[in-house]
């Protein structure tokens, strides 16, 4: 897997350099901007600073992340180039996992830049101190963003993968892929709702009498436990979808 990861990162080095340049520019900008130089505390230039240092760069960042994800996940399927990967003795699961790990690198880059933009440049009254998240908050936010985006990436990937595997010879394969995409999303949403009801019921169910006995700290712990349980379920879903993609590649590939 590490060997594949090495080649994935090498093949996307231009995008990595672009990410590094964006990071450098915004860090330099943040260092240069101390004090309320836009007069945002008084409402001056609020629109300009929000648009130019928040909205537009974040839109750019989203496009950057989406393009990188598409390129990483789909390059071997969209062109003949790189198909040598499928003739190597690598399992489908390893193939997809290495792609997801590469996307993770880009997700972290995008997240860190977004953090600099939102917390350090856009907010009014910039102080001389950098806003830096604690390691726990950083990991927790990364987990939230990554699990959230990876589930959707994999749902899209599996749906698209049908056009290169089981439905490769079907006439309306793209329409079929879209139906699979919608179905998977509905199933995912239903599952998420049931999970939410379950977590809510466990943390509030009178039989356990937890909320009665629990002070504010324990209640917070329960909420956190529910949150981490949610992440755990998401991770299990991601692994399951990665396995499914791997099986489709191993057993039903049709290039």
């Amino acid at each position: 897997m590490l060997k594949l990861l090495k080649y994935e990162l090498k093949s996307n080095k231009k995008l990595l350099i672009l990410g590094a340049v964006m990071f450098f520019i915004f860090v330099m900008m943040r260092i240069a901007l101390t004090g309320d130089i836009f007069g945002r505390a008084n409402g001056f230039n609020l629109v300009i600073s929000t648009v130019f240092f928040g909205g537009l760069p974040i839109i750019g960042l989203v496009i950057y992340f989406l393009y990188a994800t598409y390129k990483i996940m789909w390059s071997e399927f969209s062109r003949h180039e790189g198909r040598v990967s499928f003739t190597t003795p690598i399992s489908g699961f390893t193939f997809v996992s290495s792609k997801l790990l590469t996307v993770l690198v880009f997700a972290i880059i995008a997240f860190v830049i977004q953090l600099i933009l939102v917390q350090n440049i856009m907010s009014p009254g910039i102080t001389s101190n950098f806003f830096i998240l604690s390691p726990t908050s950083f990991i927790s936010q990364i987990l939230e963003q990554v699990t959230g985006s990876f589930k959707h990436i994999l749902i899209i990937f599996i749906s698209a993968l049908f056009t290169k595997t089981m439905a490769a010879n079907v006439k309306l394969k793209k329409s079929l892929a879209f139906i699979i995409f919608i179905t998977l999303h509905i199933v995912h949403d239903l599952f998420a709702r049931v999970l939410l009801i379950f977590v809510d019921a466990v943390t509030n169910f009178p039989l356990f009498n937890w909320t009665f006995q629990a002070g504010p700290i324990q209640l917070q712990n329960l909420t956190e436990a529910g949150m981490y349980f949610g992440y755990l379920v998401d991770i299990i879903l991601i692994v399951a979808m990665t396995f499914l993609s791997g099986i489709l590649i191993d057993k039903k590939l049709n290039l």
Binding site: K10, E81, K171, D250, L255
Partner: protein
């Protein structure tokens, strides 16, 4: 002789099109087979199935006793009809890539073949001409110590000088314990390379015989046989 490939009742459809129809075939170790047939006869589909690029088929295939899988990919060296290499890589990086993923890859052999084929380490794949890409693909494929070599149209778009070099490389690479299946419709180029022939038309095997036997029985060259068989196909 031992069989390296056994195919029973292989069927592959692309929608309503029958690409391969109830194919039964065995390939022996130590032989160079020519898979001959006109366009759209199913040659590429058959090679892709053996290479593991198409897993969606019915029937049974055994490669060295194993069903096509990740394991068989480590003993099958496949040369596709189109360039499937990563275009951003240099020639040196493609060698490293093959070395990283194929245990049977012989770096020294690859370098020697590349030198013989006038390929430079620092050339980027994307910038190579069609002929140079064909040389590179063949050098990489034949530098493997594989049990089964699958070469799909290795001479397409190749000039005479390059073709001679490619044929020389193929001859030098053939070993007793390996089998080579060369798919082409340029029959005349490979005539003296082949030991056995498989004629494929519209997904059916029309004929499978040793070259010597064919020549004795019919007193004709492969090209003449090809013209005769496919005249009515």
């Amino acid at each position: 002789m031992d069989n390296i490939v056994t195919i029973r009742q292989l069927q592959k459809n692309f929608g309503s099109t029958n690409a391969l129809n109830s194919i039964n075939l065995t390939l022996e170790k130590g032989k160079v087979y020519g898979l001959l047939g006109p366009n759209a006869s199913g040659k590429t589909t058959l090679l892709k199935i053996l290479a593991g690029l198409i897993s969606n088929y019915s029937g049974e295939i055994l490669i060295d006793g194993l069903k096509p899988s990740t394991k068989t990919k480590s003993i099958v060296a496949y040369l596709p009809d189109r360039s499937d290499l990563h275009s951003w890589m240099t020639v040196r990086e493609t060698i490293e890539y093959y070395q990283d993923f194929f245990e049977d890859f012989d770096v020294q052999k690859a370098k020697k073949t590349m030198e013989f084929m006038d390929l430079n380490d620092n050339d980027v794949v994307e910038k190579l001409s069609k002929g140079m890409k064909a040389r590179l693909k063949l050098a990489l494929t034949l530098a493997r110590d594989a049990k089964l070599y699958l070469l799909d149209e290795p001479f397409d778009g190749i000039d005479i000088k390059t073709r001679e070099k490619l044929i020389e490389t193929i001859i030098n690479s053939q070993r007793d314990e390996s089998c080579m299946l060369i798919s082409t419709h340029h029959v005349n180029y490979v005539e003296y390379l082949l030991e056995a022939l498989v004629f494929l038309s519209k997904g059916h095997i029309l004929l499978k015989k040793n070259v010597e036997q064919l020549k004795e029985e019919n007193n004709k060259s492969i090209v003449e046989m090809y013209m005769e068989v496919f005249a009515n196909a």
